[in-house]
């Protein structure tokens, strides 16, 4: 509906406000793209630019700019993702502390920043300073006692409810696509699916703003998955600046793969891990050119985040650890046990979460999203406040669990009994018995573990931005630390057993519980997402220690094996299946012995295939066919008797071409013949002018014979990214197999519900 009003004087400036007129070659919402067509269009464009570049200097410069546009897009994506991640980190830091108190000297400082310059912090109370006051201190002046505690408790809950209510309202009013993690939908988009608006500007803005609110409200969710979505939105935003990427859906997806790498890179401070995550988990086709560009984008993003410096000290992530204490061979046994725990927890989480999400999708629960978010936040806040380990943000919890206890740490976990007669410097722990603080911490941590395991199942998938990397790592870190302290105390109290004799000498380094926490975190994250290499690389980039690769790998491998024994899919694949997206996984193997005839349409008893003929269909027939059926395309045959295949034409292109022809060309009426050949057919002169539609015909559709094994057909669909494939026998068209048919067949073979595949 473009306005061709001659009185409109504002010209091109306001054209962006007009509704874009869809041209031939674009795709409808919730449909799959044609990878081969996009690739050939890009090759054409490139060839045209190269041939024109020899004409003049200006054309040469334009061809150089075209070649460099990819790198410029990567640079812009890195800069914007890094900036947004820095903003998110700083805002989360401040708002999380806002639930407990406020800084009086400058309200924009979080607790740690507020007490940064103060000289009133003491060795025993490192967090107290007069500039920071809790709400009960501010309002009533009581600091101790039941009244102060209850007032703090009440205000904590109020703030948490306020933040989450704001988050879900903003999502609901402005950008409903901003909810959830985003990674399952991005996986599907990168495999060729179109979801218009999912990577739009409003989604970007709302996701950034509400992510801060959701994380600050104390809910058991993380920000890593949503950061991938934010980075892909940035990628989409910059793609629209260059026609090379905005007009070609295949090239755009290369940029989005690189943007996903930048997203993980700023979430964890792990550029290499980000590229590997994009390669392993998110992307579908990952050409080598994208590898180098993804790395560049991830580096630029990491560098930008570092220069914003959100955590002080130029650290990128809150839980960066730097110790290098060695580990011992015998410790592999508890590490493998942690791997088994990770695998079991991953299975439990996936089954529980999918069951709950299915319930939300099908029953009354789904009608009250705002109420659901408020209730879950309320329950989380009520149960989290009493336990000091769940009261603080999950990132801080992980940071404390990962850290080794030096003599200078003041947390309860490090309350070991010091022998005052020891004369050597206490910079590490040789075996020491645990003091009462450690035992208190142990049972508080056990309660926190149970709480987090249960509440995360209900939190992931609500209608606010939610990630699950941090909650999984928290569960693993708590379990790991508990096991680590148990092993350490066992080594102290029974140091005369054979295994400990060589291992722990008095006065020497023995067990590092922080390392067990890291291994546990890696195991749980691997169990739930089924990442392999990218997980190990992310964890080792987080810790900076090459010597811990073997324990991390042992735990990751064990957890993946244990989890795969119960179910083949990670959490993201399970959500893709729940939503019915047309995602043909490259990891699935199809080993059944069915043939193409078993899957193709039309089956026996179904109406025959809807075809167009080369030169004997009228415009009226075509329009009737389009109205009566909802197929996405029609094969074109020579004639109804011979049924020899000429090509394939898309529904959308047909609709647009006929509409265009009726408006613009003279003499085209309902009785006009539609022809797809090069020359017009011989018709009597009294017939109206025929309509040539050869331009929209795909002359090289993929065909297989009816005896092609389905294994080969699935392989072709996967490797070439096809949407449909025609089935012929001795040259005659027999039927059609679409991607939806393939997915339904695979689901049927795996005894899942084939009707759950919803999209084409």
């Amino acid at each position: 509906v473009s306005s061709l009003d001659p009185m409109n004087g504002s010209g091109n400036l306001m054209d962006f406000l007009d509704e874009p007129f869809p041209d031939v070659g674009t795709y409808e919402d919730f449909h799959t793209i044609d990878w081969l067509r996009e690739k050939s269009r890009d090759t054409d464009r490139h060839r045209k630019i190269t041939s024109k570049s020899k004409e003049s200097i200006w054309e040469f410069v334009k061809s150089l700019l075209d070649a460099w546009s990819g790198w410029v897009v990567m640079l812009l994506i890195g800069l914007l993702s890094g900036t947004l991640a820095g903003v998110i980190d700083l805002a989360v830091d401040w708002m999380t502390d806002l639930k407990e108190g406020v800084c009086l000297s400058a309200f924009w400082y979080s607790h740690e920043q507020c007490c940064w310059t103060s000289n009133e912090t003491t060795f025993d109370n490192r967090d107290k300073c007069p500039q920071w006051q809790t709400w009960s201190e501010l309002m009533t002046g009581h600091t101790q006692g039941a009244g102060g505690y209850l007032l703090n408790y009440f205000l904590y809950i109020v703030w948490a409810l306020f933040f989450s209510f704001l988050a879900v309202s903003l999502v609901r009013v402005f950008a409903p696509y901003a909810c959830g993690s985003g990674i399952p939908e991005i996986k599907t988009i990168l495999s060729g699916f179109i979801i218009r608006g999912y990577l739009g500007k409003w989604t970007l803005l709302i996701k950034t703003v509400t992510l801060v609110l959701a994380v600050s409200s104390g809910l058991s969710l993380g920000k890593e998955g949503p950061l991938v979505h934010v980075a892909c939105c940035c990628g989409n935003l910059f793609c629209s600046l260059f026609s090379k990427y905005s007009k070609n859906e295949g090239k755009r997806r290369e940029v989005l793969s690189a943007a996903a790498a930048a997203g993980v890179s700023v979430a964890f401070g792990a550029p290499i891990g980000g590229v590997l995550f994009s390669l392993e988990e998110v992307s579908y086709y990952f050409p080598l050119k994208t590898l180098w560009r993804s790395f560049f984008a991830a580096l630029v993003a990491a560098f930008t985040l570092r220069s914003i410096n959100p955590f002080g000290n130029s650290r990128l992530v809150l839980f960066y650890v730097e110790y290098h204490t060695p580990w011992y061979m015998a410790e592999l046994v508890p590490f493998i046990l942690l791997g088994v725990f990770g695998g079991l927890w991953g299975t439990l989480f996936i089954r529980g979460n999918i069951a709950w999400c299915r319930r939300r999708k099908t029953t009354q629960l789904g009608k009250y999203p705002v109420l659901e978010v408020i209730v879950v936040t309320g329950i989380t806040a009520i149960l989290a406040f009493p336990n000091p380990y769940t009261r603080r943000s999950t990132s801080e919890l992980i940071s404390e669990l990962f850290n080794d206890c030096g003599a200078l740490e003041s947390s309860q976990l490090c309350d070991y009994v010091n022998d005052p007669n020891m004369t050597r410097p206490l910079d590490d722990i040789p075996d020491r018995p645990a003091g009462p603080g450690v035992y208190t911490a142990l049972w508080q941590l056990a309660l926190a573990l149970i709480f987090k395991i249960i509440i995360t199942i209900f939190t992931f998938g609500m209608k606010i931005p939610s990630g699950l990397f941090i909650p999984s790592m928290a569960v693993g870190a708590i379990a790991g630390r508990i096991v680590g302290i148990a092993v350490e105390q066992m080594a102290y109290h029974h140091h005369d057993w054979i295994i400990f004799k060589n291992w722990c000498r008095p006065g020497a380094d023995c067990v590092t519980p922080g390392l067990y926490a890291m291994v546990g975190a890696a195991a749980c994250l691997g169990g739930v997402t089924r990442m392999t290499v990218s997980l190990v690389v992310i964890m080792f980039e987080l810790t900076g220690g090459l010597e811990y690769i073997v324990p991390l790998m042992a735990a990751a491998v064990t957890s993946k094996w244990v989890a795969d024994a119960f179910g083949k899919e990670g959490i993201y694949e399970a959500h893709i299946q729940l939503n019915g997206y047309p995602f043909l996984d490259v990891k699935d193997e199809f080993t059944h012995r069915t043939l193409a005839t078993d899957v193709m349409r039309p089956r026996r008893g179904e109406p025959p295939l809807a075809v167009l003929t080369q030169d004997s269909t009228t415009v009226e027939d075509v329009e009737a066919l389009i109205k009566e059926t909802d197929y996405n395309g029609f094969p074109v045959v020579v004639s109804r008797e011979s049924e020899r295949l000429i090509g394939f034409v898309q529904r959308r292109d047909l609709i647009l071409a006929i509409k265009n022809a009726r408006q613009k060309q003279d003499g085209v009426v309902s009785n006009s013949v539609v022809y797809f050949t090069e020359d017009a057919p011989q018709l009597p002169a009294s017939n109206p002018q025929p309509l040539k539609l050869r331009r929209i015909l795909n002359l090289s559709p993929f065909t297989v014979t009816d005896h092609t094994p389905m294994e080969t057909v699935v392989d072709i669909f996967r490797k070439l990214g096809l949407r449909q494939c025609l089935v012929t026998r001795s040259g005659r068209l027999l039927g059609i197999i679409t991607k939806k048919d393939v997915l339904r067949h695979m689901a049927q073979m795996m005894n899942q519900d084939p009707e759950s595949i919803m999209f084409n």
Binding site: D18, F123, L170, V173, G197
Partner: protein, 183 residues
């Protein structure tokens, strides 16, 4: 990491940007209890090369030969932050959040009330299969059909806004009502 720090400082000097506030760097030394001296935390605004026990721990609580033993137990860390960045970020974030909240209140409460007064109650009911007037943007279709008359900037902005509202409504239907995407 210290190499990157000094490179960042060089870059900032080259760009003539003001280096941080002198309050934004500090050296923090944590000294545990030793003999009969209590544990204490010392902070001073010194640069990286002066960040050690001897420069920062003042006044030194022990004498002579004990200084070395005391200092060996202390752990000194150099930290810097950018208070200007923190202030700017939080204030920008709060302004954007405030604007969004105001716009949301306007769209959900104020605009339907105004439209009801302008167009009359009867015309709002004929929006198609929405879930009643409580949906924001329920009247997008009506306004689109009313605004054919003036092709100027304001009209175009309103057109674009109504198109956006229609898109959001579609998204809301897919996500919240039919649970087709993002369940």
């Amino acid at each position: 990491m210290t190499v990157v720090n000094s490179r960042c400082e060089c870059l900032m000097k080259i760009l003539n940007l003001p280096l941080q506030n002198s309050e934004d760097i500090r050296c923090k030394c944590i000294c545990p209890p030793y003999k009969d001296v209590f544990g204490k935390i010392y902070k001073q605004n010194v640069s990286l090369k002066d960040c050690n026990c001897l420069h920062v721990v003042e006044p030194m609580p022990v004498e002579g030969k004990d200084v070395e033993a005391y200092c060996l137990r202390c752990e000194c860390k150099y930290e810097e932050r950018s208070s200007g960045t923190i202030k700017l970020t939080i204030i920008i974030y709060l302004s954007i959040l405030g604007l969004l909240i105001l716009y949301m209140v306007y769209l959900t409460l104020v605009e339907p009330a105004l439209k009801r007064r302008l167009f009359g109650h009867s015309q709002l009911i004929q929006s198609d299969d929405d879930l009643g007037d409580q949906q924001p943007f329920a009247n997008a279709h009506d306004v689109l059909s009313h605004s054919r008359s003036r092709p100027n900037v304001l009209n175009k902005v309103e057109h674009a806004q109504q198109r956006w509202k229609r898109q959001v409504q579609e998204q809301r239907k897919s996500v919240f009502d039919r649970h087709v995407v993002l369940s």
